[in-house]
């Protein structure tokens, strides 16, 4: 007989072990479809590892890719802590990106030390507003935020396409639907000349540390956790549940908006409708893999980014579809969910008494 006994506390090492185990299990599971497709499994994984971290250049590329994932991972982590199911980080990312271009492409001229913070704040506000709408629908009308945030992703993407074909279209871009480039003064500087790595990564790590302290060390952080653990008890205890939800919404949407700002102002320089290959959705996996801990989001995002970068490089080398990366990510999410049982329960083997 196996029995699940709830744990009082979960040791940190166990959470970390479960996350790492889930990542490895995901890679192992992906080997099955990979082998079925007739590809050389070991070569493929070897090439993936090499492409993700084989040299300094590959590592820099992985860190560059992890930057938006840290932001969207934090967005999911803080929301899920409060049981606010924000599946709309993809849309909020685009809202932030739109705000970045709207403010940074010549509307305002200011020196970098003013313009960069202004653009970032604008992007965070845009992302926050886009999430506050479904939060309002949830608290005022009881409308499920999952569906609303999901559908807003599609609406936001259409809105971006509309802006890029209309008012925000760059006339210099030869008919290609893209925005005008942002000013040099609005751009996030590169960390190392010659690499694509930019200051967005530093901001993302700072955001992770700040969120860690906010959630674990402040009154509002405590309230947010309390609402997540038991909203009814929190309301009974007199906590302002609606306000806490709105605050979580603003923080989560704002972080997702920063993901868009960092991609535009740090990497691309202008906005296209294919800015994000699903960073918003991958953020959910990043957060879950990190057990919703803000500090854990950073390594977790780097792992997921490595999978994507490595799969791209492997795909170029031996022609196995890079959709393999999405498979690893999906398996990682399901594995860590199952592994989460180990962190919440102790498994006790009970010898059945002879009757």
């Amino acid at each position: 007989m196996i029995r699940f006994v709830p744990r009082e506390r979960t040791p940190v090492w166990l959470s970390v072990a479960v996350s790492i185990g889930a990542g490895l299990a995901a890679l192992l599971l992906t080997a099955v479809p990979l082998a079925l497709s007739g590809a050389p499994v070991f070569t493929a994984f070897g090439l993936m590892a090499q492409g993700a971290a084989g040299n300094g250049f590959a590592l820099a590329e992985t860190l560059t890719r992890s930057t938006p994932l840290i932001f969207t991972g934090l967005a999911a982590a803080v929301a899920f802590r409060a049981k606010l199911w924000n599946i709309g980080a993809e849309g909020q990312l685009y809202a932030g990106a739109l705000a970045t271009v709207a403010l940074g492409a010549g509307l305002i001229e200011a020196p970098p030390y003013l313009l960069v913070p202004l653009v970032l704040i604008g992007a965070a506000i845009a992302g926050a507003v886009l999430l506050l709408v479904p939060v309002l629908f949830k608290t005022r009308f009881g409308a499920d935020e999952v569906v609303v945030t999901l559908l807003l992703n599609f609406i936001m993407l259409l809105f971006v396409q509309m802006m890029l074909e209309g008012p925000m279209k760059d006339e210099m871009a030869l008919g290609w639907p893209q925005s005008a480039p942002i000013l040099d003064d609005a751009a996030l500087p590169k960390l190392v000349t010659g690499l694509r790595l930019h200051w967005g990564l530093v901001l993302a790590v700072i955001a992770a540390i700040a969120l860690h302290f906010f959630i674990n060390r402040t009154v509002w952080g405590f309230r947010i956790r309390a609402v997540g653990e038991n909203a009814r008890a929190a309301r009974y205890a007199g906590l302002p549940v609606g306000l806490a939800m709105a605050m979580v919404g603003a923080i989560s949407g704002g972080l997702a908006g920063l993901a868009g700002a960092s991609e535009v102002a740090g990497l691309k320089g202008y906005l296209t409708a294919d800015l994000s290959p699903g960073f918003g959705y991958a953020g959910i996996v990043v957060a879950t893999l990190a057990n919703l801990s803000p500090l854990g989001v950073v390594p977790s995002a780097i792992f997921i980014a490595g999978v994507f970068v490595g799969a791209d490089s492997m795909s170029r080398a031996i022609g196995v579809s890079s959709y393999l990366a999405d498979l690893v990510v999906a398996f990682a999410l399901l594995c860590v969910l199952v592994g989460g049982l180990l962190t919440r329960f102790r498994i006790v083997f009970v010898r059945r008494e002879p009757a």
Partner: protein
């Protein structure tokens, strides 16, 4: 101005309404079956994708059309089984697991498609379900051309509405499924298995969802495209609340949505150039959100929805 009204008098518009509504009918029926048993299945979007591809691939590889339908349903049930095992006996978060199922089904489908067809410029085609000729009704003016464009797959959707409505409201099985989503303790007290009923309902519901996807590749179109589902599954989740978990209202909601979508496609050609096309493309999503917000206050959610049940624990 009259042009906008004229659209409503075209048989073509009503035929398109039914065609757009059909996959949603399957999707909403599937979602409401899962939710009636107490399990939210956000795997729906991915199950649509998997159903669309697997059903189409089976026919492409030589199975008859109805064989493709069966394959799609089986694949859907398999993903449903995975979702059910993770959320029912293991009690994992139905939200996050559902998103995981969507990610898994979508990526496995896309990967599988790329393995099967590494370098194709235009997607390969199959011979899709032919339009039906209905005797007598098919010869009527106006009604005839509307029905004349539908296929046997659409008929199956309407049959499913009737069957599910009957099973849920008139049979002991339906009673058990509804009870397991409202009051699992009572079901356990009757000596029935909560876990078994929930797993079965989620598998059947997921099979229905997959049929919605398969309709697109086997009847509405004759090929599989990346991104062809485009949020249809999520729309179904919204329509389920709108339909207050009743098959009859699900049919109504899907048809209403189909009419709106067909209308926006047609009005685009009239108002095109003045209003950006994206505004019209947003309408179906905005409509879904509006429908959800309007009914949410008085929505009668299954009482044990999203509440995991463990034996002997209250």
């Amino acid at each position: 101005m009259w042009e906008a009204f004229d659209i409503l008098l075209q048989a073509n518009f009503w035929a398109a309404t039914i065609r757009i509504a059909t996959p949603l009918i399957f999707g909403v029926l599937g979602a409401l079956l899962c939710e009636r048993a107490g399990v939210l299945n956000l795997g729906i979007e991915g199950i649509f994708v998997a159903g669309a591809m697997s059903g189409w691939l089976a026919v492409y590889l030589g199975l008859p059309l109805w064989g493709g339908v069966l394959v799609a349903a089986t694949v859907g049930a398999a993903f449903g089984f995975l979702h059910a095992v993770l959320t029912v006996p293991l009690g994992l978060s139905q939200h996050v697991t559902g998103i995981g199922i969507t990610l898994l089904a979508t990526s496995a489908t896309y990967f599988g498609y790329r393995v099967a067809f590494p370098n194709v410029a235009t997607p390969p085609r199959i011979e899709a379900f032919p339009p039906l000729h209905v005797p007598i009704l098919g010869d009527l003016p106006f009604i005839g051309p509307i029905l004349g464009q539908q296929t046997a797959f659409t008929v199956l959707a309407f049959v499913c509405v009737g069957v599910l409505a009957f099973v849920l409201s008139r049979t002991p099985l339906g009673l058990a499924i509804r009870a397991v989503g409202d009051n699992p303790e009572a079901v356990e007290a009757q000596g029935l298995s909560v876990v078994g009923l929930r797993i079965g309902a989620v598998m059947a519901g997921s099979a229905l969802m997959a049929l919605g996807g398969a309709f697109l590749t086997l009847s509405a179109f004759n090929a599989f495209y990346f991104g062809m589902i485009n949020g249809r599954g999520w729309v179904c989740i919204a329509l389920t609340v709108f339909a207050s978990w009743r098959p009859g209202k699900a049919l109504l909601g899907a048809l209403l949505f189909g009419a709106l979508d067909a209308y926006q496609l047609r009005i685009q050609t009239i108002a095109g150039g003045v209003v950006p096309s994206q505004i019209f493309l947003m309408l179906p999503y905005l409509f879904s959100i509006a429908a959800l917000v309007l009914v949410a206050r008085r929505a009668d959610y299954p009482r044990a929805l999203m509440k995991p049940y463990f034996k002997g624990q209250r």
